[in-house]
Amino acid sequence: MNRFLLPLAAFLVVVGFLAVGLTLNPRELPSPLVGKPAPAFSLPQLHDQAKVFSPNEMTGKVWLLNFWASWCGGCKEEHPVLLHLAQSGEVPIYGVDYKDTRDEALAWLQQHGNPYPLTAVDEAGRVGINYGVYGVPETYVIDKAGVIRYKQIGPLREDTLQAKILPLVRELQKQ
């Protein structure tokens, strides 16, 4: 009798996994860089091409790094959330303009508002690859030691901000 129940048992295990699978997103790629130091770079700034921006300037502070582009629809979607966060002043958000043209990026910020103290320009997308960016927008939470603590894939929503990111930021700021 036992061995005749084996197929049923195996089947129920598979169904269990498939049911869980319905709640997952197979295309979302979590970052292997969480818990590792944020890759170094030195990129020209958007508003002042003579100056550069490098993450080691931010050591000692907790901050957000947001990859965006003027051609990206999701970036438009999350922009009000970023502006609101920038206004609250809780944590600074620095932008990286990914695979974009300067003029279009400047015009876009002009039109939609600028939440970033400054924006770096990654025209070739190399820094993006170093950060494991595969689609914009993507946002990283980086701590005082320069270690990536969280990666938000896709548009940053208010509920994720309140539930996950801000509590983490507050905890990191205490350290």
């Binding site: 005749f4 197929p7 089947f11 996994f17 498939l18 699978g21 319905l22 997952l24 979590p30």
Partner: protein
């Protein structure tokens, strides 16, 4: 108006399926003949209703009724008529209607061709199929209605995906579904046998032709899918172990195991419970495939637009149908008798070893397909499982199976003599090994895999010849023709199907071993030589299609100075969805395909072009076709034709049994 008629027909069909799925089963359980006799007319009625619904949807597509949401999202006024009709199954809702339509075709076929079955059995079989159709109809009417209206009507449709605007789209899905859904008949036979407790060799004999026909369709359907990907996708590949491809391949593996297992059950009455389990497995994999393609659980090029709500419905349906069958199996199977005895080394033993190997291969494909999901569900990270895994794992599992393919048909039933078998096969082995070791050197390159592939293919052919010779030697009749005629068609079918596998293996081996690809930058008038053929680029001109504009290149191909053919690859831009598509040019041949794919214009008026020489690639699909023909030949065997002609067995059952064991 017409779409509403179609919608109403589906609702009526649902009601009929409720009747069909319940009354006959109850009637069979209590022996009520009147209730059992509801099955045939209900099945036929359901067929007519679903046919009506299908025609209504077809009509909506034909007249370009964009007030139907489904038509508006998959069709367009510029779309040619054949693709407008093929668009019926171009997306999720319509393909479900196709599923139910094909299920009702099989149901009506069973209702007409099952007069030799006992009434209770027939009632149960049709009822089980009715229950399956109930699930699908309910699914359609609740969350996937193809007749949903779009108000206000769209001015024009969003068009069928350009990749699907191709003759392959017209035939591949129907063929594939005929196979998938066809296994529901084997499934229904198995459930009916479990319900009725009549699980014996006769059940296997009745099941075999239905299973083999479904298997033939599935073989052709999968082969067509592969052939279509080859010429449509533009990169020359023919199998990617993509989740949806695997979803169609797994039922095929189970079906192949089933037709071999049924042979044992039919001939020797053994392993009945295992055959039943395989029948349940084959259909379960069809349903699993339906789930995987539509639920969004796995990423695939072939997946329909996904919706977790739909996925949940199918999963619950899957759980109920398969869970229910497996509970029934666990309950009834232990009581099944054992049938005739046989030793481990015997034809039965080898057929069952074939089963073990096929199921292990099936398990490997299932494991590889679902493993990323397993890890993600357990929060153990995200991985990808692709062709490198499947190729590494599949070949070692199938190699012994193919080796057995040569020995099995020659082994005796009940108890085989290994040393004697080895003696009979020694020349076949020697010829295979010698040819396989030397042939690659003659062609130009020796690798272990090429040698192995060729050896397996030649082994199948040589052992088939040995088997046939022995068979002819023992047959009645003085002349060769007489003796050939005495060999039953089921034997020829088996030989043909096995040789089809050999042809397939030759195709795969030669293409993988000796294919040549070249990426070149060509200016007008320049040539490039690949695989002995010289391709001359003669410019690009603009060509207008019914709903696209193309840049068409002209290539003159010659070999040793003589012109062989002219090829016209295209780069098409479809008007509606504004999608660019590469339409490769293929010059097929018995011994090789030439494949030209137009890339992009590059600096200096030149174009990037990809040229391929693919030896023996058409043997891959030719082999599948031969396999399917073998199946058809096997079904046309006299015993099935006799069964169709006779209403009841006029000959005593014992004599019939005796006749079977002789052939």
């Amino acid at each position: 108006m017409i779409p509403e008629i179609g919608h109403y027909a589906l609702i009526l069909a649902l009601c009929v399926s409720v009747v069909l799925g319940t009354l006959p089963i109850y009637g069979a359980a209590v022996g009520n003949s009147m209730l059992m006799s509801v099955a045939k007319p209900a099945a036929r009625g359901q067929f007519l209703l679903v046919l009506l619904a299908f025609c209504c949807l077809g009509y909506a597509f034909a007249v370009k009724d964009f007030s139907v949401l489904y038509v508006a999202s998959t069709s367009n006024s510029q779309l040619p008529i054949q693709y407008r009709l093929a668009a019926i199954w171009g997306a999720h809702e319509g393909s479900l209607l196709l599923w139910v339509f094909i299920l009702s075709i099989w149901m009506v076929a069973v209702s007409f061709l099952s007069t030799h079955l006992p009434e209770a059995m027939r009632a149960r079989i049709l009822a089980v199929m009715g229950l399956v159709s109930l699930g699908f109809l309910l699914f359609m009417l609740t969350v996937s209605n193809p007749f949903e209206r779009l108000i206000p009507a769209a001015f024009d449709g969003r068009d069928l995906n350009p990749l699907l605007q191709d003759p392959g789209m017209v035939i591949h899905p129907p063929m594939l579904y005929m196979g998938y859904v066809g296994f529901s008949v084997a499934f229904a036979f198995a459930i009916a046998a479990l319900l009725g407790g009549t699980l014996d060799a006769t059940w296997a004999r009745w099941s075999r032709p239905w299973t083999t026909v479904a298997w033939c369709f599935l073989t052709i359907g999968v082969a067509m899918g592969s052939g279509w990907a080859y010429y449509e996708l533009g990169w020359g590949g023919w199998w990617f172990w993509d989740p949806v491809e695997n979803a169609s391949f797994m039922p095929w593996l189970a079906g192949t195991a089933l037709i071999h297992s049924l042979a044992v059950t039919d001939k020797r009455g053994g392993f009945k419970a295992w055959s039943v389990l395989l029948a349940i497995l084959a259909f379960s994999l069809s349903l699993l495939g339906t789930f995987l393609v539509r639920s969004g659980v796995l990423t695939s090029v072939h997946a329909f637009a996904t919706d977790p709500k739909r996925g949940l419905f199918i999963l619950v349906f899957l759980a109920v149908v398969i869970g229910g069958s497996l509970i029934l199996y666990a309950w009834r199977a232990p009581r099944v008798g054992l049938g005739g005895g046989f030793s481990i080394v015997s034809r039965e033993g080898m057929l069952l070893t074939n089963n073990v190997l096929l199921v292990a291969a099936l398990g490997a494909v299932l494991l590889g397909t679902l493993y990323p999901l397993f890890l993600d569900a357990l929060d153990l990270g995200k991985i990808s499982v692709g062709p490198p895994y499947f190729d590494t794992v599949f070949v070692p599992l199938m190699t012994p199976a193919i080796f057995l393919m040569g020995i099995g048909p020659l082994a005796q039933w009940k108890k085989a003599n290994l040393p004697e078998l080895a003696m009979r096969l020694r020349w076949a082995f020697a010829v295979s090994a010698a040819t396989a070791l030397s042939l690659p050197f003659l062609i130009g390159k020796w690798t272990p895999l090429v040698s192995l592939g060729l050896m397996l293919a030649i082994w199948i052919v040589t052992t088939s010849v040995v088997g046939l010779r022995e068979r002819l030697a023992h047959a009645d009749g003085s002349s060769l023709m007489g003796r050939l005629a005495a060999v039953p068609r089921s034997y020829w079918g088996m030989l043909l199907a096995h040789c089809g596998v050999a042809v397939f293996i030759v195709g795969v081996t030669m293409v993988k071993g000796f294919e040549v690809e070249q990426d070149v930058r060509m200016n007008v008038g320049e040539t490039s030589t690949v695989g002995g053929y010289t391709f001359r680029f003669d410019g690009v001109r603009e060509v207008k299609g019914p709903n696209y504009i193309a840049a068409q290149g002209t290539f003159h191909v010659s070999q040793d100075g003589r012109e062989v053919t002219v090829m016209y690859p295209e780069k098409r831009r479809y008007n509606v969805q504004n999608q660019t598509m590469t339409e490769a040019a293929i010059a097929p041949g018995l011994l090789r395909d030439l494949y030209v794919s137009l890339g992009e214009p590059v600096a200096g008026g030149a174009w990037s072009v990809r040229l391929y020489h693919k030896p023996f690639i058409d043997w891959i699909w030719g082999g599948c076709l031969i396999m399917a023909l073998g199946g058809v030949l096997a079904i046309s065997d006299r015993r099935y034709r006799l069964a169709w002609r006779r209403k009841e067995a006029a000959v005593p059952a014992a004599t019939q049994m005796a006749r079977q064991t002789v052939s």
